[in-house]
Symmetry: C2
Subunit: 308 residues, 2 copies
């Protein structure tokens, strides 16, 4: 079992979908990643920052899920990062209504002593300077560094982002971001170009259309589970990443064969995330439910054909 460090946002989200709307609820990349990875029983910790308005009950929840929250700085005089968005009817597109950076505006991440020897490092979507600072605080090179990012950083801080990308093993981005980063429309060609930037593994997330795992010419595909209803897609990508790295940290095996299993688990966990608002479904999810869904993934994808 490996030790997993997660850096990313811990936030408040207010979400509106065709099915309803929420007040400020718990959100943030590190939250979703941590909750998803917690289902694999790994020792994990979060590095993040919140304001004085962040309720103790959420910190208690992390603790109950075996997620070390001592790396979450509480800036008493500040307010927690707040995002508000409204999804369109097809749930594939959304408008951002509010982005209040608040305490995130000048976040200097501090990695706790007991996580400076982490085996797995997950750099959630954040300013590339923050991601770089965390990499530099780790004492020995982790077994695996996974990075998530978004188009915003490509638009505004591409040089710094490229420096971070050079130092990591796995990048997880969506299809549009892969196209923007590489300048290639074909995802096969995009992955080839991104390999040359550093990462040996490229994971391209396509939302309801599944995810592709590339490793220098090899490719594996994990579909999304076809669902009767998607209730709220918020956090699905981070939940995918958390399931991916959580499974790898649990098994301590970073072979391509095991990464195939990891993307299937990522897709598995993400399929639960979208069933309720925010983190609700991830908090009450049981091991048995995950195993049952794994059976569904096998039925969805596995076939027997003899090669001649």
């Amino acid at each position: 079992m490996g030790k997993l460090l997660i850096v990313g946002t811990v936030a408040f989200d207010a979400i509106e979908t065709p099915f309803g709307k929420t007040d400020k609820i718990l959100g943030g990349a590190a939250t979703y990643i941590g909750l998803s990875a917690s289902h694999f029983g790994v020792e994990s910790g979060i590095v993040s920052i919140v304001g004085g308005d962040f309720p103790q009950k959420h910190l208690d929840m992390f603790h109950n899920k075996n997620i070390d929250a001592s790396g979450i700085e509480i800036k008493k005089e500040g307010k927690t990062f707040f995002w508000s968005g409204k999804y369109h009817n097809d749930l594939n597109t959304r408008d951002t209504l509010i982005t209040d950076l608040n305490v995130l505006a000048d976040f200097n991440p501090v990695v706790p002593e007991n996580f400076k020897d982490c085996d797995f490092l997950m750099l959630g979507n954040l300013h590339p300077e923050v991601q770089m600072s965390v990499i530099n605080q780790i004492k020995k090179r982790p077994k695996l560094i996974v990075l998530d990012t978004m188009n915003f950083w490509m638009d505004n801080t591409m040089d710094t982002l490229l420096k971070v990308i050079k130092k990591i093993d796995v990048i997880t981005i969506n299809d549009e971001e892969a196209r923007q980063l590489s300048g290639e429309y074909s995802l096969v060609r995009a992955a080839q170009k991104i390999h040359k930037m550093g990462p040996k593994y490229v994971v391209i997330k396509k939302g309801e259309h599944g995810a592709l795992l590339f490793n220098n010419g090899k490719v594996f595909f994990a579909p999304a589970l076809p669902l009767e209803e998607v209730f709220d897609p918020t956090g699905a990508g981070d939940t995918f990443a958390g399931g991916f790295i959580g499974y790898l940290a649990n098994t301590l095996d970073i072979s391509f064969e095991n990464m195939k299993r990891a993307v299937i688990y990522g897709s598995n966990l993400a399929s639960f995330c979208v069933e309720k608002f925010g983190t609700e479904r991830m908090v009450d999810l049981s091991k048995e439910e995950i195993q049952n869904r794994l059976k569904q993934f096998k039925e969805l994808t596995q076939f027997e054909i003899e090669l001649n």
Copy 2:
């Protein structure tokens, strides 16, 4: 080995993609379906209509591929159905520039005597009245009837289309068409509603995002092969359908397990179709290439996870 009857268009296409453009080349749903199914060595025949402008060399090509063309009526004084389209840069969308129905405008299909006892019937995208007429000419109920259709017939002849849909076993349509036919956005719910219209099997084609096979609660997914370059998507959906029914006709097994293999073969054949303009790639394709690609499909999708 089953006998396969295909009804559909045999046409001229003029295609423009970001990579180039063609003059009038051989096209049409029945052409792509027939060529794709021919790779499974089944005895097949096409029912269609062409004009006096249709060159003998194309009929010879059908003959060489073991496709019986005696059901293709040649209306000497008429002109062959002509379609012209231009693809956008992403190749996912296209504008139709010309649709000249020509001889197709008053097509009365006549099933040749030796195909009135066919085991497999593929109703390519055509006016539902034509599809119904062919069903009515078959002497005994085929083992399997597969139907393809499109939004145009839903917009203009829904009542007739629904009567045809009631009589078939498998419907193959794309995601937008499944949504239009069912009034449901979720493809899982769409399939449930379409089952109630008649077909026990619903195949939803999602282009580069693969295809879903539904059978009353069971679901299987065949991805599209991630390609470095898609050259011309014309005919990919029909090639998929031809691979699907060709494999089933070859194996004479219409169990759900075998249909899984059939959609994988459909996706396999379609991945070749898009590599060159029109039918070019389908004509020179070898058995060995198909088997090699099957190996790629297995690597793309198969994984080992123990269920607890």
